[in-house]
Symmetry: C2
Subunit: 256 residues, 2 copies
């Protein structure tokens, strides 16, 4: 039975897409059937696998707005056990188009239900906001994985994200819990990063993954080749960190 | 007559807030009457000046939704010639609340009109999306200043931003033009940054500011002290870069 994990944080540029792409690819490489859904109108997770969001005919937009079966939208990737449900430019209008629709927060959950059993893990990359696309994802998700950059503004936004999770739990999805918190773009040389890290450990304790993702240029180069980092440069510290994170995520899932 | 400049880019974490805060502060330090409006529900520009977005009684939300005069919301800052119109938690719901309202894209423009003459520069920090808050800002603005991080995903989003600017020009604000493009968090040691920089010069030519903002930890430390970088560490390379950018922005405005 597939576990649906939202990769979300309304703060921009904290590594949501980089985490969703590389975690899904790493777990796929461990031969666990994995799906990555791109719910961000920017389509970065889509292009992170070499798929052009501008040329994709149908996308997750058609599933949540027109009820198209998710199975018809899913594409294969260069990783055998991993598929992607791409985003395209139509998704930009979805936040406003969803407002008057029936069961507007449940559209993604209903789209995933028929295929949930075909995968062990389903990751959903979210846009940098707490609008209807992210709410749809938090309603469909079993848990949320929170990438946090060790910077002041990123720390500030955490309490707001936690409030939103509580609101979703109360009225849309009682099951939602925190899968884990991953520190991203970590540069241990700065005191700011250490101070923010300590704050996050105090707040989230054992929910913080042992694997910390270091700042590594290979992670930001990989998307320009349309590849996850394990296909672009498996020896890099970025690839190693995401493989370690993938092992932790899988172990936690198998234990519970 | 105040020049309204939107600081916008739907890509997250590219340095919009850091640019809006430090540019407004630097121009204020040049003794030009400056206003910074925080249109991002995250309230980072607000806390960048030491104001707590959770404790602010009235904010830009009251102006665009309830028609409260902007003058009643504006706060003084530690910089004499510079004021701020803060954001607060209410702004989170504004994107959805604006949908059914009359003249929903013109709410900010109408709020700014009565006080536009009191300032030489009015900067507006935008959230990382192309929703109604950003559309309100592009409708109210004379021009848009685009911070771009020299990374692949940030480059990918530029064509979408330019499309949106064209749409706004056609139907909401004929006057809107590009004020300039500023490269942020620049690390010249990586070939990726150089490649992306060259792409941006090719695309925007003389619209790209000569001042490039380097990656500088003092810029990310300053907000944790509630200060713009010129008050936190004026000798830093980050402060120097924003003072240079401020001079360019002022010179361009005085020339046209
Ligand atoms: N560990 C890392 N080391 C170096 N660069 C990184 C790392 N993680 C992410 N990046 C780069 O930083 C930028 C921001 O990351 P990313 O786009 O994944 O964040 P995001 O949270 O998905 O952004 P958005 O809020 O726009 O969706 C990207 O250009 C990415 O390539
Ligand atoms: N030149 C720089 N050097 C080092 N750190 C920087 C620089 N510019 C910005 N930062 C840091 O990078 C992070 C992202 O910057 P910022 O929050 O200004 O981007 P943004 O585009 O406003 O993000 P959002 O999309 O969430 O609104 C912040 O933690 C900020 O402190
Ligand atoms: Mg992303
Ligand atoms: Mg910002």
């Amino acid at each position: 039975m597939g576990k649906v994990i939202a990769v979300a944080n309304q703060k921009g540029g904290v590594g949501k897409t980089t985490t969703a792409v590389n975690l899904a690819a790493s777990i796929g490489a461990m031969e666990k059937k994995t799906l990555l859904i791109d719910m961000d109108p920017q389509g970065n997770a889509t292009s992170g696998f070499g798929v052009n969001p501008y040329s994709v005919e149908s996308s997750i937009y058609d599933c949540i707005i027109n009820g198209k079966p998710l199975e018809e939208v899913v594409l294969k990737t260069a990783i055998n056990y991993m598929n992607i449900a791409p985003s395209n430019i139509d998704l930009t209008g979805a936040e406003i188009e969803l407002v008057p629709l029936m069961a507007r927060e449940n559209r993604l959950k209903n789209a995933i239900a028929p295929i949930k059993d075909q995968y062990e893990f389903i990751f959903v990359d979210c846009p940098p906001s707490l609008g209807l696309l992210t709410l749809n994802t938090l309603t469909a998700a079993d848990s949320i994985l929170i990438p946090i950059q060790c910077e002041y503004y990123a720390l500030e936004g955490v309490s707001k994200l936690l409030n939103t999770i509580e609101l979703v739990k109360k009225s849309l999805n009682q099951m939602l819990c925190i899968e884990g918190v991953v520190l991203t773009m970590y540069d241990g040389r700065t005191t700011l990063a250490q101070q923010v890290r300590d704050e996050i450990y105090k707040h989230f304790q054992d929910k913080v993954y042992k694997s910390i993702i270091p700042r590594n240029v290979r992670l930001s180069e990989a998307p320009s080749y349309g590849k996850p980092v394990i296909l672009y440069d498996i020896r890099s510290t970025g690839a190693e960190a995401y493989l370690n994170l993938a092992r932790e995520v899988v172990e936690n899932a198998e234990r519970s």
